[in-house]
């Protein structure tokens, strides 16, 4: 088993707002292995994007990485100098973002912007230009040589995102972090981009960290997945296991709340009640407890730690789905939360 190329240890990133401190990332630890595709999935406020930005020290004001280690080839990225981290960005670890429209400079030609990624790391103009055309071909932009001269607005959304990917891969980085790269794209284009990323991951051996809220994307692209909620990791493990047998009630509920296009019959969606957690005043104990259908007394007071629930799979829960099934009949869904009308929600029984 090769050793990880990236080790994130106990990362803590906070935002100092005048309403108080927002713990956007609160004790996140994970490893990334060479060439693997890791998914980080969560909803708004989960901290997934900030985690990625923290790795490259790109957290915007008023955010600060307050503690933790990010070890890349045994160098702590959080401790090295500004000069060194700038070297690493774009060369060893690259990042692409959600909206290619705003990530690309509208007044510069697309090809030139891809060149820039290489010029910043020491290549000559001629080298950069020929490599750019090679890359544009690799990301399947048709007529790459002529597209080189086009401005971003002359390209479609899908092509712009491909150009972004080309930029990201320009210096053959070991890791490519993709923050919701397909969210703003049409479904058919999204599928093409995901296929491209899968192929690139396989051909080039670049590790991909895929940040998304879409479980379907994770299912197709990733081999391992991290589920985040309210700034913490609630579950982690191989994709097949997590989808088949999620142990954290949040993961389980999330999977049950997604309508599936291949569903055979109409089953009422099992929604997660309540609203997203307030990161200024997070709930006591387990952060998910106000919305959790299977909580017990301990969940209100004690914060659960990640524990192994299956080989290679960890979850932070006092109850876990295994127990919820055995003791609470989770599969016949009954809402046991106090305060619900009569303990049973009309229409909520599946």
């Amino acid at each position: 088993m090769p050793s990880p190329i990236l080790k994130v240890k106990d990362l803590q990133t906070q935002f100092l707002t005048h309403d108080g401190i927002v713990k956007a990332v609160d004790g996140v630890s994970f490893d990334l292995y060479p060439g693997e595709s890791l998914g980080i999935v969560g909803e708004s406020g989960s901290g997934k994007s900030i985690t990625a930005l923290s790795i490259l020290r790109l957290v915007p004001d008023p955010g600060r990485v307050v503690s933790g280690k990010v070890l890349f080839h045994d160098k702590d990225l959080l401790q090295i100098s500004d000069e060194e981290i700038r070297e690493i960005r774009g060369r060893d670890i690259a990042m692409i973002f959600q909206d290619p429209q705003s990530s690309l400079n509208p007044v510069l030609r697309t090809g030139f912007q891809v060149d820039e990624a290489m010029l910043a790391h020491g290549k000559s103009k001629a080298e950069a230009r020929s490599r750019t055309i090679e890359l544009l071909n690799k990301v399947r932009i048709p007529a790459a040589a002529s597209r080189y001269k086009d401005f971003p607005h002359q390209l479609s959304g899908g092509m712009r995102q491909r150009a972004m990917i080309a930029m990201g891969l320009a210096n053959a980085p070991a890791i490519l972090i993709a923050d919701e790269p397909t969210t703003a794209l049409d479904v058919t284009v999204q599928a093409q981009i995901l296929e491209l990323l899968t192929d690139l991951n396989r051909e080039l051996g670049t590790a991909i960290v895929m940040i998304t809220h879409n479980m379907g994307v994770v299912a197709g692209l990733c081999s391992r997945v991290i589920v985040m909620y309210a700034g913490q990791i609630v579950e982690q493990g191989p994709v097949d296991q997590i989808f088949e047998n999620p142990q954290h009630p949040y993961t389980w509920s999330l999977l049950k709340s997604i309508p599936r296009v291949d569903a055979l019959r109409h089953e009422r969606l099992r929604s997660i009640e309540g609203i997203a957690p307030d990161l200024l005043h997070p709930p006591s104990g387990c952060r998910f407890h106000p919305r959790c259908p299977f909580r017990v007394e301990k969940c209100f007071t004690d914060e659960p730690l990640l524990q192994e629930v299956a080989p290679g799979q960890v979850a932070a829960c006092w109850v876990t789905m295994e127990r919820a099934r055995k003791e609470m009949g989770a599969d016949e869904l009954v809402d046991i939360r106090p305060g619900a009308a009569s303990g049973v929600h009309p229409g909520e029984i599946i």
Binding site: E43, S44, S156, G157, G158, M159, D186, V187, T188, V189, Q190, A191, Q192, L194, E195, H213, N214, M215, G216, V217, V218, A219, G220, V239, D240, F243, S253, L254, L255, S257, I258, P259, R260, V261, D262, A263, L264, R265, H266, E267, R268, L269, R270, S271, I272, E273, I275, A276, G347
Partner: protein, 337 residues
């Protein structure tokens, strides 16, 4: 319809239900400067049946948002007719049209932009009532509280402002507003797209419950086909201003009769690794053409995997016609799909 019976939903026969809204050859062109026109909606005919949820899906440039605004007459048609019940909506102007708005309401996409930030929640929800002078004073306030409760919000929220609420809560406020006048048809224009995944399920369930309770008819527009499949009875697929397929939701997904529908379905990621890895993506060549210069003949021919060029696909526009029981598609070669 065996599936419907199993799921416990009332069985709705294909043509037994009354037509609530009917569109005939609706066209909407926008000027695009320098003499060009955007063919946003280009000859669209369909009906929405009473009590059903008609889903409308398509990607960018297909015209679904424009169609939403045409159905509610927020913008006028360039040509074509829209009937609401027996009334020709497209013939109405001014006050007469305004009066019809009581029956035709809309829920918008952006929960942060569709509520006036300077108005209290109570005033927002009551605005339709105020616009038509329907209720005043105590009755008005009671109705507001009732509406807030119906959508699952604390009725004491009426004095608060929208920015104090989360996206999902704001969307509930928008739904309460849409229901204020007891409309018959509600157009949901990407009503859940801007919400978190777990909140989407809440709102979808709420919409379904409200439909049952208040006998509503929905036109549900979205780009997320999984949700559309879930909530709709019938589904309409649009491409570049035209309808390419209309069928009940089960048939659309199990037996598509248009190559675009099939490609669209293959592109939706399924949250199941084993299944997802085994799926084959139908590759579409090229990009979505510009609605300013739509392709000749069948608009999809430039990207279609089964197109026979040049005849007939690049020359003859396929009509939207019946290919199966209550299943329409606009393709020369539906049998090959």
């Amino acid at each position: 319809m065996a599936e419907a019976a199993v799921s416990g939903l009332p069985v709705r026969g294909p043509s037994s239900a009354k037509s609530l809204l009917r569109a005939e050859n609706v066209v909407k062109h926008f000027p695009a400067g320098l003499g060009a026109t955007v063919h946003a909606v280009d000859g669209v005919s369909f009906e929405i049946r009473e009590g059903e949820t008609l889903g409308l899906v398509g990607e960018s440039g297909c015209g679904k948002s424009t169609l939403a605004r045409l159905v509610t007459q927020l913008i006028p048609v360039t040509s074509g007719k829209i009937f609401f019940g027996d009334v020709e909506l497209t013939k109405l102007r001014g006050e007469k049209l305004r009066q019809h708005r009581r029956q035709l309401q809309m829920i918008f996409q952006d929960p942060f932009a569709s509520l006036d930030p300077r108005m209290t929640v109570g005033d927002i929800v009551a605005e339709p009532l105020d616009n038509f002078g329907v209720m005043r004073g105590r009755k008005r306030n009671e109705r507001v509280q009732e509406l807030l409760k119906i959508v699952g919000l604390n009725p004491n929220f009426n004095n608060r402002y929208p920015h104090e609420f989360s996206g999902g809560q704001r969307q509930r406020i928008g739904i309460a507003r849409a229901l204020a006048l007891n409309p018959r048809l509600v157009v949901c224009d990407e009503a859940i797209s801007a919400l978190d995944v777990s909140i989407q399920a809440q709102i979808v369930n709420l919409l379904e419950d409200l439909q049952r309770e208040f006998k509503l008819t929905y036109l549900f527009i979205a780009h997320d086909l999984s949700v559309v499949r879930h909530i709709s009875d019938r589904v309409m697929v649009m491409y570049l201003g035209k309808i390419v397929e209309i069928a009940d939701s089960t048939a659309t997904y199990s037996d598509p009769k248009h190559p675009y529908t099939k490609a669209l379905l293959s592109a939706i990621p399924v949250p199941d690794p084993k299944i997802q890895r085994g799926r084959r993506l139908v590759e579409l060549t090229g990009e979505i053409p510009s609605p300013i210069k739509p392709p000749t003949g069948c608009r999809f021919h430039t990207r279609c995997p089964i197109a026979r060029l040049p005849t007939p696909c690049a020359e003859v526009e396929p009509p939207l016609e019946e290919k199966g029981r209550d299943h329409l598609a606009a393709c020369h070669f539906s049998q090959d799909v």
